[in-house]
C-alpha cells in the first residue's frame, strides 16, 4: 500500500519507513530484537550462574587473552560505524557509497568471525572442549550463539549485496538494508556485554 508515497519527488528522507510494508518491517524488527534481548539474557544468566563450575578443567583466567579480544572488539565496533555510514548514504540516495560501506562492514564481519573461529580452536587446544565442564558448555553456547548471529548476518548482507548489486536504492530494498543495519548494531551491543561479562570479568577475577 505504497500509494501514499510521492515517488516523483525522489527518494524520501526515510526510505525504510516510507511504505506501509517498510513501516511494518521496522516495527516488527524492533519487536524481534526485544525478544532477542530476553533470549540472550537467558544465555548470559546461564553463563554467569555456571562460570565457576570448571570441574577441574581450564578456567577463564587461564584462557582469555586481552589483545585478541581487544582486536575483535575494535573490529566489531568499527563495523557498526561503517554500517551507520552506509545507512546515511542510503538516506541521501548515494547508492555506490552505500554499497562500498556495506562491503566494508561485511569484510569486517568476516575478519571478526575468523578471529572467533581461531579463538575457539585455540581453546580446544588448551583442553577446553564443549563438554569439559559447565563453564565450557555455557561459554561456548553463549559466544557461539553470538557467532551464529554473526554468520547469519553475513549471509544476509551478502545476499542483499549480490541481489541488489545494480538495482539502486528502491522502496523495496531500503527497508532490507536498514533492518540489516539494526541487526548488525544489535550484534555489536551483545558483543559489548560479552567482552565485558565473559572476557574482562573472566580475566579480572571476581
Amino acid at each position: 500500500m505504497s500509494e501514499t508515497v510521492d515517488v516523483s519527488r525522489g527518494l524520501p528522507a526515510h526510505p525504510e519507513r516510507a511504505t506501509l510494508e517498510g513501516k511494518n518491517k521496522f516495527v516488527g524488527f524492533w519487536v524481534f530484537l526485544s525478544g532477542e534481548v530476553t533470549m540472550f539474557a537467558t544465555f548470559f544468566g546461564t553463563y554467569l550462574g555456571l562460570r565457576n563450575g570448571t570441574a577441574g578443567g581450564p578456567e577463564a583466567a587461564d584462557l582469555f587473552h586481552m589483545p585478541l579480544v581487544f582486536i575483535m572488539t575494535m573490529i566489531l565496533l568499527t563495523s557498526s560505524l561503517t554500517s551507520v555510514i552506509a545507512i546515511t548514504a542510503m538516506k541521501k540516495n548515494q547508492f555506490k557509497k552505500m554499497k562500498l560501506w556495506m562491503w566494508i562492514t561485511f569484510f569486517l564481519g568476516v575478519a571478526f568471525l575468523g578471529f572467533e573461529i581461531y579463538e575457539f580452536v585455540e581453546y580446544v587446544h588448551y583442553g577446553l572442549g564443549f563438554s569439559t565442564s559447565a563453564f565450557a558448555s555455557s561459554f561456548y553456547s553463549l559466544v557461539g550463539l553470538h557467532g551464529a548471529h554473526v554468520v547469519f548476518g553475513l549471509g544476509w548482507v551478502l545476499l542483499l549485496l549480490i541481489r541488489y548489486n545494480r538495482a539502486g536504492i528502491t522502496l523495496t530494498n531500503a527497508p532490507k538494508f536498514y533492518m540489516f543495519s539494526l541487526y548488525w548494531h544489535f550484534i555489536d551491543v551483545v558483543w559489548v556485554f560479552i567482552f565485558t561479562v565473559v572476557y574482562l570479568m573472566g580475566i579480572g577475577g571476581g
Partner: protein
C-alpha cells in the same frame, strides 16, 4: 505500483534542512563512536591495570557496558528519534524483563539460600 517499488531513484527528496540534519547527525555519530572506543579502552585498562579491587572493577566495567548499550541503541540505532515510541517500549520492556532472569540465574540457583 509494483514498478515504483523496485525502481531506483534519480534524486533524493531531502530538503536542505534535512540534509543539514543528516550531516549533523553523522557528526554526532562519529562522536558517539569515539566515545565507544574510549569506553572500550577504559574497560580494558581498568581490568589490565589490576590496581583496583575486582569488585569495584567489575561494577565499573558493567557500568561502561551499559553506557555503550545506550549509545548504540539511542544514537546508532536511532532510538532517540521521533516515531520510535513502540521500538522504545519494546526494547525497554525486554531489558527490564531480562533483569530478574539474570539475577535469578546468578543468585537463586540453590548455592546460597537467601
Amino acid at each position: 505500483m509494483a514498478d515504483h517499488l523496485s525502481e531506483p531513484f534519480k534524486k533524493s527528496a531531502m530538503t536542505n534542512e534535512e540534509i543539514m540534519k543528516t550531516q549533523r547527525e553523522m557528526r554526532i555519530q562519529f562522536i558517539a563512536f569515539a566515545f565507544m572506543i574510549a569506553l572500550t579502552f577504559l574497560a580494558f585498562i581498568a581490568v589490565g591495570a589490576e590496581v583496583a579491587p575486582p569488585g569495584f572493577v567489575i561494577s565499573f566495567i558493567i557500568f561502561l557496558a551499559f553506557i555503550q548499550l545506550f549509545l548504540q541503541l539511542y544514537y546508532f540505532m536511532h532510538l532517540k528519534d521521533k516515531d520510535h515510541g513502540w521500538a522504545n517500549t519494546f526494547m525497554v520492556s525486554g531489558l527490564v524483563l531480562s533483569i530478574p532472569t539474570i539475577v535469578a540465574l546468578i543468585l537463586i540457583i540453590g548455592v546460597v539460600k537467601y
